[in-house]
């Protein structure tokens, strides 16, 4: 219905590159949004190109209207709102596609380019990884080249445009670095929308029930990374302590703090000390997973009575902590209320359990011996370590111990603590992470969600709380080895099965290579996280301190100085021929012209001053005389070579006579006459073009 009024030549030169850029812009969105949305943009690109090359008609106005409705409906259908991370981004994508289809003027082309830049930025709401940053650079280069094409770069070939675009992006890099380093950082997440879930959709929870941790077991997401000062602890010592559970209700383990625990002195520590920096990924909780047992920690953290560290508020963005840990050596005696909690049971135990424990007690009633006996039981009976244990009806502990015998760490830890309590030994469940990947390239330990773990602690008189990991009895590889397990066909995880071992050997060379590459990538990613993403207010403060900037005022001086320097450089580079308005008469004129501009009388840059005065006189007779005299004097000074200082003073005086506001009743007429005046100018130009030369209204005065 309405063919685009854009010249086809312009489109032929610029559209392919623009469409390529747009298609690339929305490529990462395929991973984050339903395929309909990035797909729509791709489709719009294809349609537009088809319209150009195959002469297929672009959508009519009505078609566009229907498409708009459909797009908005689709967004609502998927997200039930038009804002928020997903909804808002989807709406932007739909808008981008529609605008591409609707382009009718050069202005629309520009708009599409700018909208595309905006859409490229929305990708950071989903991911801030290195590939996305590289993608942004590429996209910006492409869009830059589009703008070059639209701004007189038609004579450049595609390669030339891209080269120039890349050059300009590269030239912007120093500015980017300076802004990145010095622009004040905002505390709080930059890339989160208010109503989003706090970051980290996976992680430990504040209770433990069968299946909670095993779900994490399949997640390869990084939980935290650790840089050690010196050697890392051996694998069997890598227990990262999280929440401790005391209370068991027959199904769930919870902290069970109905009343606060009595204040305890922290345990005394002994042995090797580890100092390390923990880089914690965002999560929903306040826990900071320190190596057992945390000794020193930064000010913002507190140590709970149970020995784990807590931040003041949920950790919504990546944080770094400098910690040191040493194994616990001596505890204060167990208080009565603690003992009561550590022996709590949800009712009478199952008969089979009772009998089992009684048998152990008869052999040797000491706590240590009972614990060892229980571990032996796990080891000797056919217990299997599995990420997908079968569901248990009835009492989960008895069912697990005597029937299914398949479970993940939380089953073993829970059952073990239960058995200890039945035997009258104070025990509790500790959750956290265990192990981690050592990255030999970046020299740091990477702990992923798959390393989430639960273990037990029993109270042994004389020793205090002693860590016992029943999972180690069943699957020692889980504890002592670097994690290397394969999921077998039915989903159960079998550690170090002979089959896997053999396969592993055969594929070892290839896998070694892949593994090497993976480690290298992890190291690069860690550096990116550490140096780029974690550059928040704290790191900035530290960096500036190193530069000698300790307070805000100094930072402001730095910033002003740097920005001033940048401005000066660009001024020199970009404005070599321009000069400030040196002519005082011109300054006066521009001031007066500003007054008129506020009244709607705008002089075009290429319009002669005398022509302008004539136009003003036509549309505003009240100004004709004063502005006419002012202009005449100005022209005499600026062009006629009148140099007396008195003339300038007189000019200023005349300028002051021009009112800066239109008085009362003139308002309406002024505007109407202005239109007429503009037409007059247009008419003059057309006439002039016909007759070889515009005839200024002033010069025509001679005839009148």
């Amino acid at each position: 219905m309405t063919p685009p009024s854009l010249p086809p030549e312009l489109l032929r030169r610029n559209l392919p590159l623009l469409c390529a850029a747009l298609a690339l812009v929305v490529t990462p969105h395929w991973a984050d949004l339903p395929p309909a949305f990035p797909g729509f943009v791709w489709l719009a690109c294809g349609w537009r190109l088809a319209a150009l090359y195959r002469k297929a008609p672009p959508p009519s106005r009505i078609g566009l209207f229907l498409l708009t409705l459909a797009g908005a409906g689709l967004v609502y259908l998927h997200f039930h709102k038009f804002y928020g991370r997903e909804g808002g981004t989807a709406l932007f994508l739909v808008g981008l596609g529609l605008k591409l289809l609707e382009m009718r003027s050069l202005r629309d082309l520009y708009l599409v380019v700018y909208l595309a830049l905006f859409v490229a930025v929305t990708e950071y709401l989903f991911s801030q990884s290195i590939p996305i940053a590289a993608h942004t650079l590429g996209v910006v280069t492409l869009l830059m080249s589009c703008l070059i094409g639209l701004n007189g770069g038609e004579n450049l070939g595609l390669a030339g445009r891209l080269r120039l675009g890349a050059k300009m992006v590269l030239q912007a890099v120093p500015v980017m670095v300076v802004l990145f380093l010095f622009l004040p950082r905002i505390a709080g997440p930059l890339w989160k929308l208010p109503e989003d879930e706090p970051g980290g959709t996976t992680g430990l929870s504040d209770s433990m029930e069968p299946g909670a941790i095993s779900r994490l077991g399949l997640s390869r997401e990084t939980a935290f990374r650790v840089d050690f000062e010196g050697a890392p602890p051996p694998p069997q010592e890598r227990y990262w302590r999280g929440p401790v559970f005391w209370k068991y209700d027959g199904r769930r383990w919870t902290a069970g703090y109905d009343q606060p625990l009595p204040a305890r002195r922290p345990p005394q520590t002994a042995g090797a000390s580890y100092r390390y920096v923990l880089t914690l990924e965002p999560q929903r909780r306040r826990w900071v997973f320190a190596l057992e047992t945390a000794e020193t920690f930064p000010a913002g953290l507190t140590r709970a009575e149970d020995g784990f560290l807590l931040a003041a508020e949920p950790i919504r963005e990546r944080r770094r902590y400098l910690l040191s840990s040493r194994p616990a050596a001596a505890f204060d005696a167990l208080s009565e209320s603690e003992r009561r909690r550590a022996l709590q049971l949800p009712g009478m135990p199952d008969e089979r359990v009772r009998a089992l424990v009684d048998g152990w007690l008869l052999e040797d009633p000491s706590a240590d011996a009972v614990a060892q006996r229980a571990l032996r039981h796990f080891r000797e009976q056919p217990f299997i370590y599995s990420l997908r244990p079968p569901a248990i009806d009835g009492d989960p502990i008895a069912g697990f111990l005597f029937e299914t015998r398949r479970g993940f760490c939380e089953h073993y830890a829970g059952a073990f603590v239960y058995l200890m309590r039945v035997a009258g030994i104070p025990a509790r469940v500790v959750t956290g992470y265990q192990g981690g990947h050592w990255n030999p390239v970046g020299h740091f330990l990477e702990v992923s969600q798959a390393d989430a773990h639960a273990w037990a602690e029993i109270w042994i008189d004389g020793n205090g709380w002693t860590r016992i990991d029943p999972t180690a009895a069943v699957a020692p590889e889980r504890i002592e080895r670097e994690l290397a397990f394969e999921a077998d066909a039915d989903g159960a995880v079998v550690f170090a099965s002979p089959v896997a071992e053999a396969l592993g050997q055969r594929l070892s060379s290839l896998r070694g290579l892949i593994r090497e590459a993976g480690l290298l990538w992890d190291a690069v990613d860690h550096a990116w996280v550490q140096w780029v993403l974690a550059y928040g207010p704290e790191n900035q403060g530290r960096f500036l301190e190193r530069l000698g900037v300790v307070d805000w005022n100094r930072l402001v001086y730095w910033l002003t100085g740097l920005l001033g320097l940048l401005a000066l450089i660009s001024f020199i580079l970009l404005w070599p021929r321009g000069r400030p308005v040196a002519d005082p008469a011109l300054r006066v004129y521009l001031r007066v012209a500003g007054k008129l501009e506020r009244q709607g009388l705008v002089r075009a840059p290429a319009e002669g001053m005398r022509d302008f005065a004539a136009r003003v006189a036509r549309s505003r007779p009240d100004l004709a005389e004063s502005f006419g005299r002012f202009t005449a004097l100005f022209l005499a000074i600026r062009y006629g070579g009148v140099v007396q200082p008195a003339a300038l003073e007189r000019l200023k005086a005349l300028g002051r006579e021009i009112p800066s506001r239109q008085r009362g009743s003139h308002q309406h007429r002024g505007f109407r006459d202005l239109d007429a005046g503009a037409e007059g100018i247009a008419g003059t130009t057309a006439e002039a073009a016909q007759h070889h030369g515009p005839q200024g209204p002033g010069s025509r005065r001679g005839h009148d």
């Binding site: 007189g152 038609e154 004579n155 002519d583 011109l586 075009a604 840059p605 290429a606 319009e607 002669g608 001053m609 005398r610 022509d611 022209l635 005499a636 600026r638 062009y639 006629g640 070579g641 130009t685 002039a688 073009a689 016909q690 007759h691 070889h692 030369g693 515009p694 005839q695 200024g696 002033g698 010069s699 001679g702 005839h703």
Partner: protein, 303 residues
């Protein structure tokens, strides 16, 4: 406006109807000691314009009809043996008149064209080793048919550059045309015309053009225009320094005609189309004069 010019213009307008602006430019060109090229289809009054001007200025006038067999000697003159003095005597050609109408200049071969064009530039003629000055004032009005017509030798750019201005007359508007159809034979009017601007007066005015003041602000504007024409991708080639001089000089003449002692940006804008139109070529190839100079008039800010 200077009364001398208003009288001149009025009289000319009474002969050539509805062409105030071209006539004005024509006089401006004469005042700036430039030569004029009129490009238009036959029959719109090119010759009448030239003859009217010659009459009004009281100048001796001769017309050269350029044809494909025209020789340089037909323009410049030649020596002929005189039996009475037993020697060669130089018979000056038509170019030795103060006002020369070179009609349909692009119908002749480049050889004949360049003979005239060299004379125009140097204001002297060298024939058979002897240099003879041309009269003062010396004003050439050349006409040419649009290059699209058959049997033309288009003037090269370097030759076009020698004309200060190129104008088009165009068809008269209906009112002027009706008057023309009703009125007398135009040529019959010519002998009755008074001499409005005698040659001595014209020479004096010509020398005053140089004294018209051009401030540095104005020169900035001229340079902006030149710079724009050279930098903009719109044009195949920019304006030459000679074009800049021509522009300034024509604007000075225009200001003088307006009775002013200083050039204004409006003067530059007024003479820009005829001065720059034939010296610029749009990169896109086509385009009339208006289209060619429109970006200069519209996009170059007055500093």
């Amino acid at each position: 406006m200077d009364p001398v010019f208003s009288r001149l213009l009025e009289t000319a307008n009474s002969v050539i109807l509805g062409k105030e602006q071209p006539i004005r430019l024509c006089i401006c060109c004469l005042l700036a000691r430039g030569h004029l090229l009129i490009e238009d289809v036959p029959g719109v009054g090119k010759t009448t314009l030239a003859r009217t001007l010659a009459a009004l200025l009281g100048l001796k006038y001769q017309r050269i009809q350029f044809t494909s067999d025209l020789l340089p000697a037909d323009v410049l003159g030649s020596s002929i043996y005189d039996a009475t003095t037993h020697g060669f005597r130089f018979h000056p050609g038509p170019v030795f008149n103060p006002m020369v109408l070179a009609d349909e200049i692009n119908r002749s071969t480049p050889r004949a064209q360049s003979a005239l064009l060299e004379a125009m530039e140097e204001r002297q003629v060298t024939v058979e080793g002897e240099t003879r000055p041309l009269p003062e004032p010396f004003f050439v009005i050349a006409t040419q048919n649009p290059n699209t017509q058959i049997g033309t030798f288009p003037l090269p750019e370097s030759q076009l550059d020698r004309f200060l201005m190129r104008i088009e007359l165009g068809y008269p508007d209906p009112r002027a045309e009706r008057e023309l159809l009703m009125g007398e034979e135009r040529y019959a009017l010519l002998p009755q015309l008074p001499v409005c601007l005698p040659a001595e007066r014209l020479l004096a005015l010509q020398s005053r053009v140089r004294d018209v003041h051009a401030s540095s602000a104005l020169l900035d504007y001229v340079q902006s225009l030149l710079h724009f024409s050279r930098e903009s991708p719109l044009y195949q080639n920019g304006l030459s320094p000679r074009a800049g001089l021509a522009l300034l000089h024509a604007a000075k003449a225009w200001a003088l005609m307006d009775g002013r002692a200083a050039v204004l940006p409006e003067d530059i804008q007024a003479v820009l189309p005829p001065v720059a139109g034939h010296r610029l070529k749009l990169a896109s190839g086509g385009g009339g004069v208006a289209e060619t100079v429109a970006p200069l008039l519209r996009d170059v800010a007055i500093p």
